[in-house]
């Protein structure tokens, strides 16, 4: 159930160019969140909240971690929030990933840019359950790369940069051919990336996490719909998603 909670900022640090990692403490959110869900964050002076994925969950410390890129006014303001301050958050929002794999299976994680964060919490949870994790992470260029070491702790990790300044050059799809023998793929990133991932991995089972501009963030306003193969013809990303089976929605 979504609650409106105050979350205390435990730490905030820059982990790559324009990219902040923030650890937030709150009992309810940390205890109920699952990988794939997001927080809907209020920022002073802004009518709309900002949706940011949960990138890590630590039930012992009662924290969740978020990672975000400075893109506009809101994320810039969020990057200025410092240790000890309180954030007004709706969460945990949306549904988590379908964690359908079992011991011995292999999960392929494909993240692009700010689509990388939700992959981390999923990979960590899977790896705790002894599921093999292979990651393919795409970034614009070297200075935007983050969490490489953390993903390597989970399993084999391929880094791709658009300009080739680090890892392989190109798009995540360019290295997908190197990855064999996985049972389910999970992907989050810009729509063009998700489309080409879907095409490249046609026939494979997969889950994708979508982004859209949101109004309410709880399913009431119809701002965030995506066409879907259902009777109604659409799904709401905020409340039916953000995670969907790749065959469920029309990209």
């Amino acid at each position: 159930m979504i609650k409106k909670e105050k979350m205390r900022v435990i730490s905030s640090r820059q982990v790559a160019k324009d990219t902040t990692e923030m650890v937030l403490q709150n009992t309810y959110i940390s205890e109920t969140s699952v990988p794939g869900q997001f927080l809907h964050i209020f920022l002073d002076g802004h009518t709309l909240r900002r949706p940011i994925s949960i990138a890590d969950i630590n039930k012992d410390r009662q924290t969740v971690t978020i990672l975000f890129k400075k893109l506009g006014d809101g994320t810039e303001q969020l990057a200025k929030v410092t240790e000890g301050m309180l954030l007004d958050v709706l969460g945990p929002s949306g549904n988590g990933f379908d964690m359908c794999l079992e011991e011995g299976d292999t999960a392929l994680l494909i993240g692009g840019g700010i689509g990388v964060p939700p992959m981390y919490s999923l990979g960590k949870k899977y790896s705790e359950r002894n599921i093999q994790v292979v990651s393919v992470l795409g970034f614009q260029s070297k200075e935007y790369v983050f969490y490489e070491e953390k993903f390597k702790e989970l399993g084999k990790t391929h880094i791709v940069t658009n300009d080739g300044s680090y890892g392989a050059k190109g798009f995540v799809t360019d290295v997908l051919c190197k990855v064999r023998g996985f049972d389910h793929y999970y992907s989050c990133g810009p729509i063009p990336m998700l489309k080409s991932v879907k095409n490249t991995l046609e026939g494979k089972r997969g889950s994708i996490s979508l982004e859209e501009r949101m109004g309410c963030g709880i399913g009431a306003c119809y701002a965030c719909v995506v066409p879907a193969q259902t009777e109604e013809g659409y799904k709401k990303i905020c409340s039916d998603g953000p995670v969907f089976d790749v065959l469920e929605v029309v990209l």
């Binding site: 009518t47 501009r213 109004g215 709880i218 009431a220 306003c221 119809y222 719909v225 109604e232 409340s239």
Partner: protein
């Protein structure tokens, strides 16, 4: 004890605060946050004759002290709303207002008459002011003759009180208000959103896929207040006021300007508890300014 009650045609409200159409769905999602029975009323999302899928995304953008939306009247159609949504809301001790939209006179009549079968609906809000659909809505809302016509037809088709929701995108909204009053409207609802646009700098194109969208939020409050104040001087049917309300002080401002009740839209997105919090704060706010009841505040700045 402060008396918050207001009595409007078909609506005996325990307090004047209700969520605005389109900003609260059909209440389900907000019912997880607080008891909807606390609300004076609920205005449901627009209903059309058939289900509508609305516009392409992006459908919302943020602006200074406001937002643009171009949902495009997405809804499951009047029949599904009566079947699935009204019964849910009827469980709560609150008045239900249905927002009626359409592309043609006939569709408006159909939607309105279909709501006759929904015994828990207390009143209709006739939406002739949605700026976000290509056909229907707005052409009825910018021409006094058409506005009067659709009001008459809906009054004939319906056995419920009808509140006509006016568009602010007109030169002479007082004439619009008078025209629909003359055509039999039981009340007015104002204002709907103001047409606006945002250009997305990275793509150098309009951000919303519908290009234009409706501006709402605190940014438009002074425009709403002025329109209500001027209409209040010229018509005698009650007004449900809206446009940028985000706290109890704003509610008082609308009441003083001439609104008999108020609706809260975009602020629900900023804070899902907003209607509940406003209702909690209203008594002390009225008291602070020496006002004895909601009824006493209505139109006080006008006369």
């Amino acid at each position: 004890m402060m008396n918050l009650e207001v009595h409007l045609p078909g609506l005996n409200l325990k307090n004047p605060v209700m969520p605005a159409s389109g900003c609260f769905g059909f209440g389900r999602e907000y019912s997880q946050f607080y008891d909807l029975g606390k609300l004076g009323a609920v205005i449901m999302k627009a209903a059309t004759g058939e289900a509508r899928l609305g516009n392409d995304t992006p459908r919302v953008a943020e602006t200074s002290s406001g937002m643009l939306n171009a949902i495009g009247l997405q809804n499951p159609g009047v029949e599904k709303i009566i079947e699935n949504e009204v019964p849910f809301l009827a469980k709560y001790d609150t008045a239900i207002i249905a927002n009626v939209a359409g592309s043609t006179l006939e569709e408006y009549e159909f939607v309105a008459s279909t709501f006759n079968e929904a015994k828990d609906v207390c009143a209709l809000e006739l939406n002739i002011s949605c700026p976000n659909v290509k056909e229907g809505g707005i052409q009825f809302g910018t021409d006094p003759y058409m506005a009067a016509k659709v009001t008459e037809k809906v009054k004939e088709a319906s056995n419920l009180p009808v509140y006509v929701k006016l568009s602010p995108n007109v030169t002479d909204f007082v004439s619009m208000a008078k025209a629909v009053e003359k055509a039999g409207a039981d009340g007015l609802s104002m204002i709907n959103t103001i047409t606006g646009m945002q250009i997305h700098l990275p793509t150098q194109k309009p951000l919303l896929s519908n290009k234009t969208g409706g501006l709402s939020g605190p940014a438009i409050k002074p425009i709403a207040i002025r329109m209500i104040y001027e209409v209040k001087q010229q018509v005698s049917i009650p007004i449900i006021g809206m446009g940028g309300i985000s706290n109890a002080e704003d509610v008082l401002e609308f009441l003083l300007a001439g609104a008999s009740a108020v609706a809260v839209g975009a602020a629900n997105f900023t804070n899902p508890f907003i209607c509940s919090e406003i209702i909690d704060n209203l008594p002390s706010t009225l008291e602070k300014y020496g006002i004895n009841s909601v009824q006493d505040a209505i139109g006080k700045a006008v006369f």
